[in-house]
């Protein structure tokens, strides 16, 4: 059940394409990414420019999803918001993947580093991520970069644990012993043999990191420590509707649905990947 896996072999791809969650999630994600990428073409209005005489307009033929209290078009803001959301998610995933791999692999492979690194990760995990992000935002100021830093710091401990666990397993397997016996250096073994075989669980974990980042970015923006206005992030749009829950609920409802679509697509994708790449976790 724990045979080393080679991603280059054709089998996983064929199995992925046969996985329904992967295909559905993938199609949904492609559609959403396209919508975000083509936002400048698709958006009917300027997402930043308001008409204060058309404030809080309900959904209608001119503004399909209504306007906010500046009179800005919600649909256009959502399309541009998806760009921001996906960009923050992707950057967080990359950062969490790099930092998590570095820390997790070092901890798993070099026994002396294991205890200090993992206790530090435990300490970070014991902080609610949202408070950590608030503190980062208060320190460095609210900005897209700082949101990514905060989310990366919050997601790295778990990623590093996933990598460490895989490394611990792979380290003891025969082919690593074999590499060692033919005189390969430790770094080379770590890079060539161990890490390559951790890729499966890591990819699965990172898909979920992406989903978590999209959710967390919205929560951060909602409490006012996300990308600064007028950036049309999903959380900013929801926060903008907070005072108008009765008079203009569309401001709050639409971005929530957009978040669900993105996160659902990522979770489906993650499930599909997990089934194929990480059978230990298969439900």
């Amino acid at each position: 059940m724990m045979e080393p896996r080679d991603l280059a072999s054709p089998a996983p791809w064929r199995r992925l394409l046969a996985s329904r969650p992967f295909v559905i999630g993938g199609i949904l994600l492609v559609v959403l990414v396209l919508a975000a990428a083509l936002a400048p073409i698709l958006a009917p209005h300027d997402p930043l420019r308001g008409n204060f005489r058309l404030r809080l307009a309900p959904p209608g033929p001119l503004h399909w999803l209504g306007t906010d209290h500046f009179g800005r078009d919600i649909l256009s803001r959502l399309l541009f918001g998806a760009r921001l959301s996906l960009a923050i998610g992707a950057a967080t995933t990359l950062a969490s993947g790099l930092a998590g791999t570095l820390i997790g692999a070092s901890a798993g492979y070099f026994r002396r580093l294991d205890e200090p690194l993992m206790r530090l990760m435990d300490a970070l995990m014991a902080f609610p991520a949202i408070l950590l992000a608030m503190a980062v935002a208060a320190t460095l100021g609210a900005s897209v970069g700082n949101v990514i830093i905060a989310l990366a710091v919050a997601t790295t401990p778990h990623t590093s644990r996933v990598v460490r666990a895989s490394v611990l397993v792979v380290r003891e397997l025969e082919f690593v012993e074999a590499a060692r016996s033919i005189g390969a250096t430790e770094t080379r073994i770590l890079l060539r043999h161990v890490l390559l075989n951790c890729l499966g669980p890591l990819i699965v974990r990172l898909t979920y990191v992406f989903a978590i980042a999209v959710l967390a970015e919205a929560a951060l923006s909602y409490i006012g420590v996300g990308p600064p206005p007028p950036a049309p992030s999903f959380g900013n749009i929801i926060a903008g509707g907070r005072d108008f829950l009765v008079t203009a609920p569309w401001i709050t409802i639409a971005p929530g649905c957009a978040i669900i679509a993105i996160v659902l697509a990522l979770n489906l994708l993650g499930d599909g990947l997990r089934d194929v790449l990480d059978p230990r976790l298969r439900p």
Binding site: P128, L131, A138, T139, Y222, I238, L245, T252, I260, V263
Partner: protein
């Protein structure tokens, strides 16, 4: 053996605790501004600001403040809030029941609904009910909890008027009032975590159903419901218990935002307010406290796991 394991874990927790307090200090030290800004309006003169800063003891160096704080901690004191006119311990203790009752309710909702859905899906393995339940679980995982809270407010509080839009009624004052004030936040928080437990419960139940003793029981002619309730379910609960540690961490984090959405005066809002107001002793004490709860729950889960599965102790 178990005692040695316990001591090793406690030692680890103490190290983590120390690291958390140092991280908290680092944050506090890095955050610009101080509590004086909250007390003064924008027209305060520099002299007034300096005078008040000295009156609150904020003119000392960060190192001196840190040493004073650890000195207090050694004597078992978390210090005095700069703004709330009470000690940090008092401020935390009066919030504790609120946050605990919210997370406990959310956890109960997540475990009860999640386990039922997961077990139901496992029993209907491959059927339409399995697909439906797992679809719902996946959907629950994809919904932002604070947004679900806002949606509940729009529909059930502002629209139908069934529940208050926020606030908190202590259970000692009125049980019905408490239930009314906790229902929407508890659901918003619990339902989004439900999906996680449902998926766990399903896979664990499927594992158990495929094992030898279940087949033996079937061969012995026991009724299916008896097999499930008396044999399969207790065994399937083991992995579910272990994810409670992870879910508790998520719930503690989630409660911070949910407490904002529903204006619930819990520990999360205390700390958020303290960060916004730069009430440093409260930030310190609060973060340490949350970390303590998280570590404690995970310690208990590890112990449970060790009791259930002796191999863990050797790891």
């Amino acid at each position: 053996m178990l005692v040695a394991f316990l001591f090793r874990r406690l030692g680890g927790a103490a190290v983590v605790f120390l690291l958390v307090s140092m991280l908290a200090f680092l944050l506090v030290w890095l955050i610009p501004g101080d509590a004086v800004a909250v007390l003064l309006d924008a027209a305060a003169s520099p002299e007034e600001t300096a005078r008040l800063r000295a009156a609150l003891g904020l003119d000392r160096s960060p190192l001196a403040q840190m040493l004073a704080w650890y000195g207090g901690l050694a004597r078992g004191q978390l210090g005095h809030s700069l703004l709330l006119n009470r000690s940090v311990a008092e401020a935390l203790l009066e919030r504790l029941p609120i946050t605990l009752s919210l997370t406990a309710l959310a956890l109960a909702i997540a475990v009860v609904f999640g386990t039922s859905a997961g077990v139901g899906a496992a029993l209907a393995h491959g059927g339409w009910l399995d697909q439906l339940l797992m679809g719902v679980a996946l959907f629950g995982l994809s919904v932002p909890d604070f947004w679900l809270g806002l949606l509940f407010i729009i529909v059930f509080a502002l629209g139908l008027g069934w529940f208050p839009t926020g606030g908190f009624v202590p259970i000692s004052e009125s049980l019905a009032g408490w239930a009314r004030s906790m229902t929407l936040p508890g659901l918003a928080l619990g339902l989004t975590q439900m999906g996680f437990i449902a998926r766990m419960a399903r896979s664990s139940m499927l594992d158990v159903l495929g094992q030898d003793f279940v087949r033996t029981a079937e061969a012995k002619g026991l009724s299916r419901s008896r097999i499930i309730l008396a044999h399969a379910l207790p065994n399937a609960m083991v992995p579910i218990v272990t994810v409670i540690g992870i879910v508790t961490g998520a719930l503690l984090g989630g409660s911070v935002v949910i407490e904002q959405v529903f204006s619930i005066p819990g520990v999360g809002r205390l700390i958020v307010g303290a960060i916004l107001a730069r009430d440093f002793p409260v930030i310190q004490g609060g973060l340490l406290f949350l970390a303590g709860v998280y570590l404690l729950v995970n310690l208990i889960v590890d112990l449970l796991y060790a009791v259930i599965d002796p191999r863990v102790r050797l790891a």
